[in-house]
Symmetry: C2
Subunit: 93 residues, 2 copies
């Protein structure tokens, strides 16, 4: 879970996920035009999201198409919601 949260802990990466969610753009190039980072930096962030299992990328020449990894995302959702209810339940102190 820490791994997932860590991957979510950067504005650019959150922006990427929201773009993918809104289907406004799925392609590296499109994101690159919108996000204020160099292409190489964007690649790094995309890789981190991929390594964390949050997205998938497929090479559709000459571009790369990125998608949400729905299975893992369901897991993320589950974990976070578990934490939320845990925290909701109790009045600590």
């Amino acid at each position: 879970m820490a791994r997932f949260a860590k991957a979510l802990g950067h504005p650019v990466r959150l922006a990427i996920l929201q773009m993918l969610a809104n289907q406004t753009c799925c392609y590296h190039g499109d994101m690159s035009e919108i996000l204020p980072v160099a292409k190489s930096t964007l690649s790094q962030h995309l890789n981190e999201l991929k390594d964390a299992g949050l997205i998938q990328g497929t090479f559709t020449p000459p571009t790369v198409k990125y998608c949400i990894n729905n299975q893992n995302w369901a897991l993320v959702k589950k974990m976070f919601e578990a934490l939320f209810t845990e925290l909701d339940n109790e009045e600590c102190c």
Copy 2:
């Protein structure tokens, strides 16, 4: 939101939050006995959670008592759930 996620992106900090949620321990000393880090390191993590607004600490001599920051936590919950539904809705690609 990135700030919150970042704060959640470390195993020790997640453990702290779960302890607070379970009320198993609210005191620095108690956590220090369970978590495999030096006291100074624990202080750092507690500080980061505090700076992120996820917990609160009050000094009750001679110990320090930590609690969940419920208001901010509600915000966190809201933000994450918004992202979850955003990601649920669409079939990207």
